[in-house]
């Protein structure tokens, strides 16, 4: 038994507060901001810079006018003081967000955006019920219908080609693998060009399901940026994966096509592709055909992003040790199973920062459509400035547009960091 010694404590002492010279805001400041001469100088310089910026901007922001009919009225209200005229945002924010979309139909893009979040949830977060994937699958048709109106059947029928391709693959697979891939490609194409029209017509006859159509030239503002950006992002990732795999393929024909595509698209600036979409195609297409300009732009933006995406993913594929490929072969997996179960999950995880980087770049690049006369937020800022009321307003519009873009891009970047943490399996 332990002997009792008078000089040995039997109970723990209560915790005590640290000495006052080791805690508190002052200590934190001393340790982090003024720990040495260099740090002190840097801190003071930073404070001066912050003060200088704030002292110049705060007046501008604090005096801002939010209710006025024109820049001249703003100036009257300010009466000589420096101040921002955010009244232009109050007056025109709907236009900056929706373009010329009919205002009684704003619920349609709003609903499309809301449903997009629902459709994205199962893709982005693991906790969401898997059954929602079915909704994600039909969402593109639904969004197209909500935004452009018309009958719901054409977009649904176009979308139906993908399950058809899958069924064709499954049917032919027992006979021959390469034939099955060909069948999976041929079935949707046949469907689109031969059957989709009549089937859509018949279905529309049974149940119309029409919304008031909205023409593409009424689309604008952030709605346009988001449509182009999200469609480009959603399409460029699968296309980029296919291109990256194709580039690594042993089939010389496939490989040449992929390399040629990637190098060609990466070799020209996006603005060139946009001019091609807006100008050159007009000469190739027969006169009178109206190949939707937004569709043209989305296709070009997708190609552009897919080429970059392919190279980002190729980087991920190259980073995998050779043993992973050999292990997949050793397990007897065929090519697609090996890619799906072993190679791509690891390669994509490695590529996440690069992929999100490309996404953010793509989203911001959508502002380039201003050069082909589409009224994205930048284009609308020009149009708003062209009215006699708001001519001369400059920074206020750009502050607003910049803020909106920052929210989107910052959100994407935060999500990518979350995803990296969630998928982190190493023990660094």
């Amino acid at each position: 038994m332990a002997q009792e010694y008078s000089y040995v404590r039997t109970e723990m002492l209560p915790e005590q507060e640290p000495p006052s010279n080791a805690v508190g805001a002052l200590v934190w400041v001393r340790e982090n901001l003024f720990s040495g001469p260099l740090n002190t100088i840097l801190t003071l310089a930073s404070l001066a810079a912050v003060w200088w910026i704030l002292s110049h901007l705060s007046g501008w922001f604090l005096n801002s006018v939010w209710q006025a009919g024109s820049l001249a009225e703003c100036r009257e209200i300010l009466d000589g003081a420096t101040g921002a005229c955010f009244a232009v945002i109050t007056d025109r924010w709907e236009q900056l967000l929706y373009g010329f979309y009919p205002s009684d139909a704003y619920w349609r893009p709003n609903l499309a955006l809301l449903l997009m979040l629902v459709a994205l949830a199962p893709v982005l977060f693991p906790g969401v019920p898997r059954k929602l994937f079915w909704f994600s699958a039909i969402y593109p048709a639904l969004a197209f219908w909500l935004l452009w109106g018309g009958s719901i059947w054409p977009p649904l029928v176009v979308l139906a080609a993908f399950p058809l391709g899958f069924i064709a693959y499954r049917l032919v697979e027992p006979i021959n693998g390469i034939l099955a891939t060909l069948a999976a490609l041929a079935a949707p194409i046949l469907w689109w060009f031969l059957l989709a029209g009549p089937v859509g017509g018949v279905l529309a006859g049974i149940l119309p399901g029409t919304l008031e159509p909205v023409a593409s030239d009424l689309f604008g503002g952030f709605m346009l940026s988001i449509i182009i950006g999200v469609t480009g992002i959603a399409l460029s990732l699968p296309l980029g994966i296919l291109l990256a795999l194709g580039r690594q393929s042993d089939l010389i024909f496939l490989k040449t096509i992929c390399v040629g595509f990637i190098e060609f698209i990466r070799g020209v600036p996006l603005i060139t592709l946009l001019f091609t979409a807006s100008l050159l195609l007009n000469y190739f297409l027969p006169p009178g055909t109206n190949f939707d300009i937004i569709l043209r732009v989305v296709i070009m933006v997708t190609f552009f992003a897919a080429a970059y995406m392919a190279e980002v993913i190729r980087g991920g594929l190259a980073a995998l040790p050779r043993g992973q490929y050999e292990a997949a072969d050793a397990l007897g997996l065929d090519y697609w199973k090996a890619q799906r179960l072993i190679i791509l999950p690891q390669a994509l995880k490695i590529s996440i920062p690069g992929i999100v980087n490309t996404f953010i770049g793509l989203f911001k690049d959508t502002t380039l459509v201003v050069f082909i006369g589409l009224l994205d937020p930048i284009g609308l800022s020009n149009a708003i400035r062209a009215t006699t009321e708001w001519n001369g307003v400059y920074w206020e519009l750009f502050v607003f547009i910049g803020l909106c873009f920052f929210i989107f891009c910052f959100g994407m970047s935060r999500y990518s960091m979350y995803l990296e943490r969630r998928l982190k399996t190493d023990h660094r």
Binding site: V158, L285, P287, G288, F291, V370, G373, T388, N391
Partner: protein, 338 residues
């Protein structure tokens, strides 16, 4: 729809692109809407309001043509075009006409195969300076820094002007008019040069317009007007004579206020022919007798359109100057309606 587009592409891919439908009027009538190419936004000339309704001096020409051809001034689809896309949009048939402050030049008319249909605004390149510079003539600008939009004819005109007068200058290249305003106000350049109408519009937006002056020298000719493609003379005639009808209406004192009165018949045969109570000018164009009446009612006559969009009562405050009627010492002149 997708299918027909694709098949159309296949079948017509080999066809020459120049085969744009010859009868533009029929296309417009079938569509029920005029596709009019305008600027993406230019103060006083074309801009959408908070409801997305376009208005402006160039827009008024589109509306008048739509009123004449379709009977509804609002039946216009405005296609915003940039300096780079405007000519392709017209040549490819994406728009039926272009009313986008486009300078009538030889090469655009002849080489690009367009037909300019008259002039709705006589512009010219001018200079704006701060009054405290104490300069009263552009010939005193030796050694000045000049804000100049790159890649435009104004850049070449500027070089010519300074060379001819044996002066030197330092260019500050800028991209857009909005950027130019900021640079000029920030003092990055002493002089801002662009078309005089643009200078006036820019000056009107300043907090202190009284401290800035536009110098009297105009160093270039910029006749701005609507244009259409080569190859459809009937359509060209419709747009040309719609513009002329607006101009003639001002000359004869036909306004949107008194047009109903005058359309009942007057003792001036020229007005009667214009408004369709006499002769059959409308039928010659392939339109009905009241085409010009509708065009004038769309936004008023030339003078009313000028006053409402860019005239002295507006913030832009342009004087008529060269754009006064020929009877008032200007250049605006319509051939007779006979």
């Amino acid at each position: 729809m997708k299918k027909s587009v694709f098949l159309g592409t296949l079948t017509a891919a080999g066809l020459a692109a120049g085969v744009v439908g010859a009868a533009t009027l029929d296309d417009v009538k079938a569509r029920g809407e005029l596709n009019c190419g305008v600027s993406t936004g230019l103060v006083g000339f074309a801009a959408p309001d908070a409801n997305g309704v376009w208005s402006g001096f160039d827009v008024a020409v589109c509306r008048a043509v739509a009123a004449a051809a379709l009977g509804d001034p609002m039946a216009v689809k405005f296609v915003p075009t940039t300096g780079q896309t405007r000519f392709t949009a017209l040549a490819s048939g994406e728009v039926d006409m272009l009313a986008r402050n486009t300078t009538w030049t030889f090469s655009r008319d002849v080489d690009l195969k367009f037909t300019f249909l008259g002039v709705n605004y006589y512009d010219g390149q001018g200079f704006m300076i701060r009054k405290d510079m104490g300069v009263t003539s552009a010939k005193e600008l030796d050694g000045a820094t000049v804000c100049i939009q790159t890649g435009t004819t104004t850049e070449l005109n500027l070089a010519d002007f300074f060379k001819v007068n044996g002066m030197s200058y330092e260019p500050v290249p800028i991209e857009t008019n909005a950027e130019a305003q900021q640079q000029y106000l920030a003092g990055a350049c002493d002089v801002y040069t662009t078309d005089a109408s643009g200078l006036a519009a820019t000056r009107a937006t300043f907090a202190d317009p009284e401290n800035h002056a536009i110098l009297p020298e105009i160093v270039s000719k910029e006749p701005l007007g609507p244009l259409v493609r080569h190859g459809d003379d009937q359509w060209a005639d419709i747009v040309r004579w719609t513009l002329n009808a607006l101009i003639a209406a001002e000359e004869y004192g036909v306004t949107s206020a008194n047009i109903e009165e005058l359309a009942k018949g007057t003792n001036n045969p020229e007005i009667n022919r214009l408004l369709g109570t006499e002769g059959d000018l409308g039928a010659m164009l392939g339109l009905d007798a009241e085409w010009a009446k509708r065009a004038i009612m769309a936004g008023g006559n030339y003078g009313e359109i000028f006053a409402a969009n860019i005239g002295e009562a507006t913030p832009i405050g342009l004087a008529r100057g060269l754009n006064a009627q020929w009877t008032q010492g200007g250049l605006i002149y319509s051939p007779p309606f006979r």
